[in-house]
Homo-oligomer: 356 residues x 2
Amino acid sequence: MAHHSTGQATAVQTDALVIGAGPVGLFQVFELGLLGISAQVVDSLPQAGGQCMALYADKPIYDIPGIARCTGRELTERLLAQIAPFKPAMHLGHIVNHLQRKPDGGFSIRTEQGLQWECKAVFIAAGVGAFSPKKLKLDGALAITVNPVQYQVQYPVDSSRPYAGQHVIILGDSEEALSSALALSQSTPAPASVSVLYRRDVFTAGPATIEQFRNAIRQGSIALHLGQATALKVENGRLIALQLMSNDGSELQLPCDALLSLQGLSPQLGPLADWGLAMERKQIQVDTEKFETSEPGIYAVGDINHYAGKQKLILCGFHEATLAAFAAAVRIRPQDNHALQYTTSSSLLQQRLGVR
Amino acid sequence: MAHHSTGQATAVQTDALVIGAGPVGLFQVFELGLLGISAQVVDSLPQAGGQCMALYADKPIYDIPGIARCTGRELTERLLAQIAPFKPAMHLGHIVNHLQRKPDGGFSIRTEQGLQWECKAVFIAAGVGAFSPKKLKLDGALAITVNPVQYQVQYPVDSSRPYAGQHVIILGDSEEALSSALALSQSTPAPASVSVLYRRDVFTAGPATIEQFRNAIRQGSIALHLGQATALKVENGRLIALQLMSNDGSELQLPCDALLSLQGLSPQLGPLADWGLAMERKQIQVDTEKFETSEPGIYAVGDINHYAGKQKLILCGFHEATLAAFAAAVRIRPQDNHALQYTTSSSLLQQRLGVR
């Protein structure tokens, strides 16, 4: 693998970069692999599977052709097994925030976390965008410099953080939120207090967690406040209290050294929106021959694209990824013959799949 | 179900008729079913599965998304299980030979075998066309009226036919051809002779059948001729002999009362070519929004259609069938809301699937 210096970071060279490790991004790797094109994958979430894993890992899907029923997790596992012969490098927990065309027509790409690639084709399979935690919009947030609000994407909270002796407030009602409150209330050395703030007395966490949570409230190791946060109180750059409006109409101010927001994920198109690609209603416009964007060499497949007739279905994304792969193969290897071959009969494809 | 007289036959009323029971035709039924549209299926072959069953029932397919490996037979079984909730009527062994638009914008359709439908939308999922036996093109064939050449699609040959005392010649080297020769050589009352004509001494039948076949040749119960048929000898409308050129250059004339051609299947676009649909290189032109042909209400999906970027892959046909189903739903039920729902979350779809 060739490397060359580009200032601070060293760029990895790859034929193709796939942004998004959801089912369509994974199948993109497969179709590129059949055509002899190696791809790397980058995704903002800590695991492959995209929305399938983030939103319905254990819920059934009934409309994948030939699979009468599978969960989001099972579909992800099946696709990971299918692309395993192509051994794609997967870079998880990385948000792409920079894309630039190079003089040779290829692309230079960076993530917030400092990874860098140079590639000949980019496949945006980013679904509804990168998932990031829902942000708090409260007065005072910008003034905090010492102990900023922590946004947690996944349970458990980082127990290596020094919460001993601190007043900790957790926002949210999810499994992650209540489990984190329980974990912190039982940690040693103990925090000064652990409170949960949520707008109503009904939670989306699992029944067992809710039962433990209610026990902890009865025992006084966790305080539950029903209401909404209204402001942050900050002194000398340090968060010292959370102001809230209780459901009974009273205003409260709770001492707060650490505020953990676990209010779920919200998708962000993020930097993708700044790449100058033609858009329509927050979707990237593509043609139906190559699924190419308005920038040659950048393809968009799956829920993030738009064309006449578009339906946001996983099975449609599989088709889109396939035609995009054929189009990109002509771009990446113009000298080769990319006529369709069948996996059932082609010894070349079977070699690439490692089954011959 | 409503019936009304249309001259001789009685037409079955259905929302949608799918021509072709290959994987894409089967999935067409699924996507229509999710949208609440009932469909009937017609296919020229005696079983569902199309080319998957006719050409590679036991060979592996590696590029169905989420299914790392399956045979043509397994894929067919999986799809039949997936569409089972919609209980589609399947009419196998029927070749559609008539399609006419009715004054109300719907269609009247008939098969060679006499079935008749009236429907609102037609989905042509006919792959490379109807499979029919490869026809002999020999002088004299048209003159035969008494004992015409028999074309067999499937093993076994019809043993109820009166071959007793007849000179029977079988053309072909397949499992079906050699097995039929063995069965006839062992039938009672016995034929006068059983011969096989093939162009070389290598056969595609299975090893066990080939071994039995060679034993029968050694024992004299079957005669093998290596060469090519050149003409049929006919007297008073009756086939009496087959003329052939042996591989050693000699000409032979074999007495022949019954000629069975088992030289495989060849696809025929057949009557589809006469329906006035816009074609391109023997494919039916469609748009990529609705996968509709030049005739509104007639859709073409899978290997039989053509559009910019087309790849003849099963997974692409699944996408095409999906978008065609949404387009047809608007045509068939213009008053309904056909916005996309997800099988994971929609109670309506789960009711239709029988999983709720």
